[in-house]
Point group: C2
DNA sequence: AAAATAAAGGATATTTTTGTCCTTAATTAT
DNA sequence: ATAATTAAGGACAAAAATATCCTTTATTTT
């Protein structure tokens, strides 16, 4: 569904949301290890998510690292897709027509549009925080994570 | 959602299903033009779909071309994905975990699995023929198509 | 001030996907 | 038989996605 870059972005952001706070930042080493992604490539992705007051916050130097502000935690998951320039896939035609519309629908449109709507709703209504909490429910975390 | 190759495969197969028969085959030129895809690349894809008694039938030489047997018409759309080796995307974890399962679910799993099931059902239960007919309903075809 | 730490950023490499072109093989028409 | 037509297949090219490495910048600790 999504590119590897976007998958890493989602996993990393959720991990950071779970394990970090402004007082307890995470290093790229730990993050990449935890989400099972290539370190340097993940660093690039976090740069994207960090750029111009983005979703993730970062601080350089000793004690620095990545964290999510409580404001950022409340943002919808779709914002991550947007930064990764892949939110388009949610609205795209399954058959790859230039435009998915009622005016010029492909033969799968009628059956697919409901699913598409659910996908959009899911990513729009789910916040990063909700996913972080769900993840914690699945694998309870002790909210440590110093590196 | 799918690669360009798979999108072309879907569009081409549906087009062939609509416009061809064993007595009225279609050339690659017409197909590529009709579905708005690069000709040579589409030819490769049709080769894949044609290989070892696949979904599409083909005949070389004058009067030759591509067509779909009535048996092939009844196959589920998912078979196209399978040949293109992309049926995996339907079962994949949205966050890219190695395995999507109840045993080791990602934080989106609970919300996503319903959508996933619908997607699988859609591609499993929809036949090529059904899509071809739907397409004909949208843009009525006079079932010509000699090239 | 100097050293250490950690992210930011640039350059480059590798792999995959997408795309083109040309030759070969099969089939039909002349 | 020869020529014409059309898909099959191989080789290659271009672009995009994925990945690594090294240098620079900001920040903190000594
Ligand atoms: S037009 Fe194809 S999904 Fe809407
Ligand atoms: S485990 Fe991620 S969608 Fe099922």
């Amino acid at each position: 569904m999504f590119s590897k870059a976007t998958e890493y972005a989602l996993r990393a952001t959720i991990y950071i949301a779970r394990k970090s706070s402004e007082e307890n930042k995470l290093g790229i080493e730990e993050i990449a290890k935890a989400i099972n992604s290539p370190k340097s490539f993940t660093a690039k992705i976090l740069q994207k998510l960090t750029a111009n007051n983005g979703i993730i916050s970062s601080v350089r130097g000793p004690g620095g690292g990545f964290y999510l502000s409580s404001k950022a935690q409340k943002r919808p998951v779709r914002d991550i897709l947007h930064v990764m320039e892949e939110d388009g896939v949610l609205g795209k035609c399954v058959l790859g027509l230039k435009k998915c519309s009622e005016a010029m629908p492909c033969p799968m449109h009628a059956e697919y549009k409901g699913i598409k709507q659910q996908l959009i709703q899911l990513f729009e209504h789910t916040t990063i925080q909700q996913l972080a909490r769900d993840a914690d429910k699945i694998i309870p975390s002790n909210k440590q994570g110093r590196h």
